[in-house]
């Protein structure tokens, strides 16, 4: 008899199920995929994020003086697919759980994440190369730290030199 009473009492004890958002902070799941974020200290300017971006939200503009690249992530075009974060080799682009993105239309073009990534220098000839931050040297350049900081040309030369030295040693040993 009156089975709804049981449900009613249960619901009364449970309290309101409405999310109190505009009046109190909302709960966000930990793995919620919100807007992307770029960390310039880890970026090596490989450009894969720009390449895979479905909505064309990422722009990389070379600075006029040639000292680096301006990295622009426009939130008003990002579709939260997370491909940039998936393909970023150094973890510079990550997806955050931030969804507080609503803004006035005046901020339409300023509502983006802008950072400046300076080019690196070849440790031998001083030519301009992709940046080599210490974090990335520790992560990727552990096998041959010296060669990791070279420009492609110097790297090729050093490799040739290394190979010929090896061959010479082998030849001498054979003789």
């Amino acid at each position: 008899m009156l089975p709804f009473l049981k449900i009613m009492v249960k619901n009364l004890l449970k309290g309101p199920s409405t999310d109190p958002f505009p009046f109190a902070p909302a709960k966000t799941p930990k793995r919620f995929r919100g807007c992307a974020s770029h960390d310039e200290s880890k970026c090596i300017l490989c450009g894969i994020c720009k390449h895979v971006c479905a909505a064309g939200a990422i722009q990389m503009r070379a600075a006029e003086d040639g000292s680096g690249v301006e990295y622009v992530l426009w939130h008003n075009s990002c579709v939260f697919c997370g491909m940039c974060a998936h393909y970023c080799p150094t973890g510079a682009v990550t997806m955050t759980d931030n969804w507080h993105l609503s803004h006035l239309a005046e901020e339409k073009y300023t509502f983006c994440e802008t950072s400046f990534v300076a080019f690196g220098e070849c440790s031998q000839c001083g030519a301009r190369i992709q940046p080599r931050p210490q974090v990335i040297v520790d992560q990727l350049g552990t096998r041959s730290p010296d060669r990791f900081l070279l420009c492609p040309k110097c790297k090729r030369e050093s490799q040739v030199k290394h190979a010929t030295d090896k061959n010479l040693i082998q030849l001498r040993e054979q003789q």
Binding site: S77, V79, W99, L101, L104, A105
Partner: protein, 151 residues
């Protein structure tokens, strides 16, 4: 009397949903924000209305496809001033994934002046509520200044 109405009006806005060729993702989130008790947009006094002539806040979604452009603009002109437009999703602002597609011309924002933008693909229902709250502030200012969004 006018001041009193201007003060009271933003407490109970009528929301109108305008689909400008959207993929239905944002529309579902907008419906969710209003219909499901969990994200109850009616707590801030909003109510969806069926007629553009009753609307105060317009929620626009979609990149304005060529096929619906004239119809959307016609409906938009039916909405009386002062109206506040909220672009839901990234499509009205930039075109999102459909940018430079064969069926979309310039994004919605090129034809219809937006006041508040809620980016996302689709945005969370809470984010839409946040946008509506921002739109209410814009509307309050607009009522006191007696300006319209095309002035």
């Amino acid at each position: 009397m006018r001041n009193l109405i201007n003060k009271l009006a933003p407490r109970s806005p009528w929301i109108y949903r305008l689909n400008a060729g959207s993929c239905n993702g944002c529309d579902v989130e907008m419906a969710t924000a209003a219909l499901i008790p969990r994200y109850d947009v009616e707590r801030i006094g909003c109510k969806y209305c069926g007629s553009p002539r009753h609307a105060d806040i317009v929620l626009i979604s979609g990149p304005l496809t060529v096929r619906v452009r004239d119809k959307v603009l016609r409906v938009f002109d039916e909405i009386p001033h002062p109206k506040v437009t909220v672009g839901v999703g990234v499509c009205p602002v930039s075109g999102g994934c459909f940018r430079d597609g064969y069926s979309t011309g310039a994004p919605t924002d090129h034809y219809i002046p937006l006041d508040v933008i809620v980016p996302g693909c689709p945005p969370r229902p809470q984010a839409i509520i946040e946008g509506i709250v921002k739109a209410l502030d814009v509307w309050r200012v607009r009522l006191t200044e007696a300006t319209c969004c095309r002035s």
